[in-house]
Structure formats: structure tokens, C-alpha cells
Amino acid sequence: MRILFASPHRDLNECYQTLLTEEGRETVTAFDGPQTLTLLKTSPFDLLILDQNIPRVTYGEILHHTSEAGTRSILLMDTPGNYPSTASISYPFLPEELFQLISEVTSHDQSAE
């Protein structure tokens, strides 16, 4: 599984890249909206984990792109809420909470297939 982890917080990106890689998931990081969109367009990803506060491009625009491309996504949010067709988790969260959500999202993907 290929994951794109997009967040403006460098420390967050680095530690989750390490954690997810150790979980057996190839993880690429991005730090802003344009970089995220470029990576999404140039190579396929199974899952996008996107910070709500990604700079320079709105998260809505990015999620619209992933939705059209059929890529699953998880939104990291400041405040709890629901974004259509997207799973979400609000800060602060524990690693196991994110891993559980990733499993739920991807298992739904597999069952749909």
C-alpha cells in the first residue's frame, strides 16, 4: 500500500512516515498543497492522509481531486466534523487511533473490490 502523508508540520510528517513504513506501508510525505497535488498527479497512491490546514491549496480542492481519481483519503482535522466521502480524525490523536482508521478505510476498499 502506498500512502501520501500531507501536512505542513515537519515533525509530524517524519514520525508518521517512520511509523507507517514500519507498519509495512510505503509512505511519501508532502508539506504543502501544490506539492501534494503534483505527487497525486504523477504517481498513484492508495491512501491520502491530509492535514486540514495544508497551505496554499484548500483541502477541499485536494479532496475533490482524490475523489475523482478514486483515491481514499483521511482528513486530519483541528475540530471534529464530517467531510463528505472522507474519513476524518481530529487532533490530537494517538498512533493506534490513526492505524485503526487506516485499517477501516482500506478494508472497506477491499470489501468493495
Binding site: D11, L12, T18, D78, T79, N82, Y91, P92, P95, H108
Partner: protein, 434 residues
């Protein structure tokens, strides 16, 4: 104008109204009571004078009550007062602020009254008649209406026909009814009452206008402080969230490399507590806010929340039944309402065994949002689930016990009510009334 300002104005105006009402009411009650007492003193003097003030000038007639002809018109120049009374009055009068009211030397001369006597057989006779507004026939009839014919062991006094004070007393085996016209004395009382009423209304109105004009200026420092506090809370909440997430992720990495230690467990605990504190900061910011709230479709939000969690319900094998009325709307902060619904769903997912039920409907003017799930809990009240850091016995030790506490605070900020109980069959029932 904000809710707090309106509340302040309303409270202040009500206070002014109440204070004025009590003060003016007391003054007027005292005034009327004193008028009654003054009237009773005059009728008391009439009682002691056998029902009449005037003395016949002719000494040839008997001076017994029965023999007295009623006082009709006085001859021109004739003073209705007895000479003794006149002399006594002049002796008492010192000039300037002389004795007033019942003690005035001219009291007897200016009193308008009639007295009727009743024998034991019920025969009536006018004893004294010094009044123009009432005919003698009317006087007899009026006195008969007042006197019921019963034996009295005490003097009876009271008001009759609005401005007349009566006195019923017994003397020498007969019952006397004296009726005294107090219209002139009472007119000033009624004037004061009317002026008091006008003063009450005007005073209240003026206080309202002044408060309305000055409230904005009074409250602007408070509102500014509130806005800054909210801004700070939101900013603090935001700034803490990501670092806490990074700390817990890095701690996880350390544990994977070196195994869990007491220190890493301690970091996890501290991060959890800090996370709860951060959520509290966010809650304080939202709940203290008084901005105009939008009207939301609670029906749509509930359906969205259910759909969003559908996979989680399915993953746990929970059977869901719903009764969601369409078009139920509520004025609330959208993010707060989302979180309330999220917490309710999470609660059901975590603790339900086989099935859950969600009800959203209108009950009269109120909205009922109710969740039900089967459980192993004993029957009884379960309102303690809304207390912070409190979980029931079916919760895991990892649960912080904050989710429903948030729900309670959120619902309270919308002037709603929450309750929880476990039914006899073990169904955990959570109700929110909005």
C-alpha cells in the same frame, strides 16, 4: 445587542419596577390606611356623641336620641357645633399648623353623615341627617342594608359605596348605623394613587431608555475581553494539538525501538491528560461564544453522522434501527453539533452488544434526540456518565470518560437537558432534549 446586554437591561428594568412598585405601593397602602383610621376616629366621636354632632339650640326640646328630629337644613348662620365644642376647639387652636383632620375644631361642622337607629324589633329611625348627597329614604334603606339585624358584640366599621365609612354600634339597647361621607378626604388619596401609577410606568420607561442608550458603552469592554479570551482559547487549543500528536507518535517510535518503559507510559498518560485539557479549552471557546447561531438541519446532520459511522457499526456487527423525523432544525454551532453526534455514535459503537437505536423527533415544542443500546449494566439512573472522567463498569480502562461530558456541556449551552438511565432489560438509554 448581545444576549448578555438584553438580560442585563431586562433585569435592571425589572428591579427598578419592583422597587418603585413596593415603595409606591407601601406609601399608598399607608395613605389609605391612615384615611380609614381618620374616618374611624370621626365615626368614633359620632358614636360617643350618640350619633350626631349638632345640639339643638332650643333648650325646650328633650335631648334624647329618640326625641331628636333629624338634622335637616340648618338655618342660615346657625353653627351646627355645640358651643362647648366650639370653645374647646378654639382653645386647642394655636394658629399656623393647627390640628388637622379628625382633630380639627371644624371637623364636626364639615362632616357629612347620617345616623340611623334600629330597635330590637327592627324598627328604624333617622337620628341624625347632615348630608346632601343622600336622601332620607336612601339613608334608611342604606343603613338597613348595612345592618343585618344580628346582635353585635363589637363595633363594626368598613367602607361602603366606595367613599363612605360606616360604623355599627350598640347603645342603650339599640343598634346605630352611622355613615360618614369621606369623598373629599379620599380624593387626595386617589390622586396620589393615580400619580403613583403614572410615576411607576414613567420611571420604568425612563430607566429602560437610559439603560438601552448606555448598555452598549457599558458592555463594550466586557465584550472585548470576552472576544480576546475566546481568541486566546482557540489559538491555545490549536497550538497544542499538533505538538501533542507529534509527542505521542514519537513516544510510540521510542517504544518500538526500545520497548515500553515507565517513562514512555508516563508520557502517554500526560499526553492523554493534555489532550483532555486541550479539548476543554476548545469547549470553553465555543460555549462562551454568543455569536448569532445558524439554523441547522439536525435531521440531515444525524443522517450524515450515521452514514459516516456505518462502516464502524457494520464492522462490529451491530444492528441499527432509526426513527429520524425529517425537517428537524436547531440553532447551534455546526462544529459543536457535529461533535455531539460523533460522541453519541462513538458511545453506541463502543458499548452496544448487538443492536442500537437512534430516535430524533419533536415532542411538542422540544426536540428529542435519543440513543439506545443493549448492555450488561444494572437497571437504574446513569446520569453520572455525563460527569468528567466518569465511565460505567462496561467501559475499558483506556476510556477517558470525557465524551459525554462534552455532550452535556454542549447541550446545556443550547438550554437543553440530558439524561441517562438503564432500563430493566439492560438497555442503556440516553436522552437529549433541545
Amino acid at each position: 445587542m448581545t444576549k448578555a446586554q438584553n438580560k442585563f437591561i431586562l433585569t435592571a428594568v425589572l428591579t427598578v419596577f419592583t422597587a418603585l412598585f413596593l415603595l409606591l405601593g407601601t406609601i399608598n397602602m399607608t395613605n389609605f390606611t391612615m384615611a380609614s383610621e381618620d374616618a374611624d376616629r370621626v365615626t368614633g366621636k359620632l358614636e360617643r356623641a350618640n350619633g350626631f354632632f349638632a345640639q339643638m339650640e332650643s333648650t325646650q326640646q328633650e335631648q334624647t336620641p329618640q326625641a331628636q328630629t333629624p338634622q335637616g337644613q340648618l338655618s342660615q348662620g346657625q353653627n351646627p357645633m355645640g358651643q362647648d365644642q366650639i370653645d374647646q376647639g378654639r382653645q386647642n387652636f394655636r394658629g399656623g399648623f393647627g390640628p388637622m383632620g379628625p382633630d380639627s375644631p371644624d371637623m364636626a361642622a364639615s362632616s357629612r353623615y347620617f345616623t340611623v337607629s334600629f330597635t330590637a324589633d327592627g324598627e328604624s329611625q333617622i337620628v341624625a341627617y347632615a348630608i346632601n348627597a343622600v336622601s332620607q329614604e336612601d339613608a334608611l334603606s342604606w343603613a338597613s342594608d348595612l345592618y343585618s339585624g344580628e346582635d353585635l358584640d363589637h363595633v363594626a366599621t368598613g367602607w361602603t359605596r366606595g367613599t363612605y365609612r360606616y360604623r355599627i354600634y350598640q347603645q342603650d339597647g339599640q343598634t346605630y348605623v352611622t355613615v360618614l361621607d369621606q369623598g373629599r378626604e379620599l380624593i387626595s388619596c386617589y390622586r396620589i394613587l393615580a400619580i403613583s401609577g403614572i410615576g411607576l410606568v414613567l420611571g420604568t420607561l425612563i430607566s429602560f431608555v437610559i439603560l438601552k442608550l448606555t448598555a452598549q458603552k457599558l458592555f463594550s469592554p466586557v465584550e472585548e475581553a470576552d472576544r480576546k479570551q475566546k481568541q486566546f482559547l482557540l489559538q491555545a487549543e490549536k497550538e497544542f494539538k499538533v505538538p501533542l500528536t507529534v509527542i505521542s507518535a514519537d513516544t510510540e517510535l521510542i517504544e518500538r525501538r526500545n520497548g515500553p518503559t515507565d517513562q514512555t507510559r508516563s508520557i502517554h498518560r500526560q499526553v492523554k491528560q493534555m489532550g483532555a485539557l486541550v479539548k476543554d479549552l476548545g469547549r470553553m471557546a465555543v460555549f462562551s461564544s454568543e455569536q448569532d447561531l445558524p439554523e441547522l438541519s439536525l435531521s440531515a446532520m444525524t443522517m450524515d453522522a450515521l452514514n459516516h459511522k456505518a462502516e464502524r457499526f457494520a464492522a462490529k456487527g451491530l444492528d441499527i434501527s432509526t426513527e429520524i423525523a425529517p425537517d428537524i432544525r436547531v440553532k447551534a454551532d455546526a462544529a459543536m453539533m457535529d461533535r455531539v453526534l460523533d460522541e453519541l455514535m462513538e458511545n453506541m459503537i463502543k458499548y452496544a452488544k448487538t443492536h442500537v437505536r437512534l430516535i430524533l423527533k419533536k415532542e411538542g415544542e422540544r426536540i428529542l434526540l435519543q440513543t439506545e443500546n443493549d448492555s450488561d449494566l444494572p437497571a437504574g439512573d446513569a446520569d453520572q456518565v455525563f460527569d468528567r472522567f466518569t465511565t460505567l463498569k462496561n467501559a475499558s480502562s483506556e476510556e477517558a470518560g470525557l465524551g459525554l461530558s462534552y455532550v452535556k456541556d454542549a447541550v446545556k449551552s443550547m438550554d437543553g437537558r440530558v439524561s441517562a438511565r438503564v432500563l430493566e432489560d439492560g438497555t442503556f438509554l440516553l436522552q437529549i432534549g433541545l
